[in-house]
Amino acid sequence: MAYHPESLILELEERARQIRTDSLDMIFRRNAGHPGGSLSAAEIMAALFFHTLRIDPKRPDWSDRDRFILSKGHASATLYSALARRGFFPIEDLEQWGALTCHLQGHPDCIKTPGVDMTSGVLGHGIAIGAGLALAARLDGKRYRVYTLLGDGECQGGIVWEGAMFAAKYHLANLTAIVDYNDVQLDGPVHEILPIEPFVDKWRAFNWAVLEINGHNVRQILEALEMAGEIHDRPTMIVARTTKGKGVSFMENSAAWHGVPPNEADYLRAIAELKGEN
């Protein structure tokens, strides 16, 4: 496994902080969006878009690029931030999110926005679609890998497990799924609304390789993503334990901030906390 120097870790942590502040800026400005699940996914998105994914902003349709499907499409702000900061479209576009003239939709749209590989927003599709894409890569002898990020509440849906069975049948080792396991969904704690445990055992039983990490520890994320590339006989599920609303004290572990934008006072407090000014 490659050694990840401290400078890379620090850089990716800074990228994660930027994804968080971008996301809150965007959600506050639009007065719509999903703060909690955006904040919990920031390190994962930073590691993927600023280190792991082989993508090229100059060639968003490059046929050998790695693919990424944001299965938890309501965390679209994090994807838009990452793509803009990587140069897929102007950073100023983020300010127009949701406007009638802007390509950035509430949920990701692969036709309108460069760098978005697949439309999402209705939960559950990432693994099954990713499996089809991974299969196409294998048929063509392509080396690209397919990544998809899911929410934990999303895994209550049957289609996730249909896709899991299919990917296991065809030993799709070029498919890596990550679950942003923050244990909070719209109506409350996942373990109360509809328990999904024993979660790791479930994926193992579905014949996936399973890695369990702290989803806010960049080094662990990088190592897990790399390890997934070393597993050649099955798809990999990275169970990333996270905190909903991570980084903003009053949003942490709170279902109230799943899909509610902050008012101005809360927004200013949140940004101050993220910038370490509190």
């Binding site: 089809g132 048929l139 063509d140 069975m165």
Partner: protein
């Protein structure tokens, strides 16, 4: 009657086309011996994927394959694909505009043995309401096969509706076939019978018998329900002044609905719809007698013609 099943005409053509186009891949949710997609599987096992009994997953996997540059043909039973996988079809195929071909077998009352659980009488209505979707209904085994290369080479989502068994043949091999263009099957001046799928042959039979009674009925086949050939319909309404629609589908939202939408804006004339009258049907002993019992008999088309003539 050519007794080749429509599924066989489709499946043979799919297997043959697999040799022509290496990008074609085929999926089936554990019905490959029914849909006969197994013919493709035997010739190209490396390009065939049996996904098990999970139509929603099949459609998502097909979307992924299309994203990777493949031309996936997703097979299955129309009732299950169009209902169980409807969200996948709406969001991932149509909204994301992925090049997925849905070959929906056993449509209408095809599964006469199993009854209403497996009848597909709402699939045209559901599919044609989806933006970006092209909806095609095959009329016989020859035409089902002829659609395969046309559907594969069109860039975009297609729902190809197929019957299980043999229908009255109407389409000669090699005769013109174009998406979105209706076919004048029989000239006539007194009224026009607009038919799709298995009802094209039955409507031709009805027109023959009407001719014996002095009624000169035009027959138009609308195979592409969407985008529909409005020109041929408006012209028929203008020239014959009365319309009967005939389909192996509910009278709500299918061909009859689509034709009514065109004509009420373009050329309003009296119209009657022959189809399943907003009821669940029943099990039968064979597809022909079941269709007869469900309001799709040649006599039903003739009766609708006489009714519409009285309203002219």
């Amino acid at each position: 009657m050519n007794d080749m099943h429509m599924r066989e005409g489709y499946a043979r053509a799919l297997a043959d086309y697999g040799a022509v186009n290496p990008n074609v891949v085929v999926l089936d949710p554990d019905t490959s011996s029914s849909t006969m997609s197994g013919l493709f599987a035997r010739r190209f096992p490396e390009r065939f994927f049996n996904v098990g009994i999970m139509e929603p997953c099949m459609i998502d996997v097909a979307v992924g394959l299309a994203m990777g540059g493949k031309i996936p043909f997703a097979n299955g039973f129309a009732a299950l694909i169009a209902l169980r996988a409807l969200e996948q079809i709406r969001t991932c195929v149509c909204y994301a505009r992925k090049n997925v071909k849905i070959a929906s077998g056993y449509a209408g009352l095809s599964d006469y043995k199993d009854g209403a659980t497996h009848h597909a009488i709402t699939d045209i209505a559901l599919m044609r309401a989806l933006p970006e979707m092209t909806v095609i209904v095959a009329a016989d085994a020859v035409q089902a096969g002829a659609w395969v290369p046309l559907v594969a080479e069109y860039d975009g989502p297609v729902y190809l509706r197929l019957n299980r068994s043999a229908t009255i043949p109407v389409h000669e091999a090699g005769s013109p076939l174009e998406m979105g263009r209706g076919i004048m099957r029989r000239p006539g001046h007194d009224l026009t019978i607009v038919a799709t799928g298995s009802m094209v042959g039955r409507s031709m039979a009805a027109a023959e018998r009407l001719a014996g009674q002095g009624v000169d009925a035009r027959v138009i086949e609308i195979h592409t329900i969407k985008p529909i050939d409005a020109d041929i319909l408006n012209q028929a309404a203008a020239e014959t002044g009365a319309i009967v629609t005939a389909e192996e589908h509910s009278v709500i939202g299918g061909l009859g609905g689509a034709v009514a939408e065109v004509l009420c804006e373009g050329r309003p004339v009296p119209a009657e719809r022959v189809g399943i009258c907003d009821k669940f049907m029943r099990t039968g002993m064979d597809p022909e007698s079941l269709a007869d019992a469900c309001g799709l008999a040649v006599e039903d088309v003739m009766a609708a013609a006489r009714r519409v003539l009285q309203r002219k």
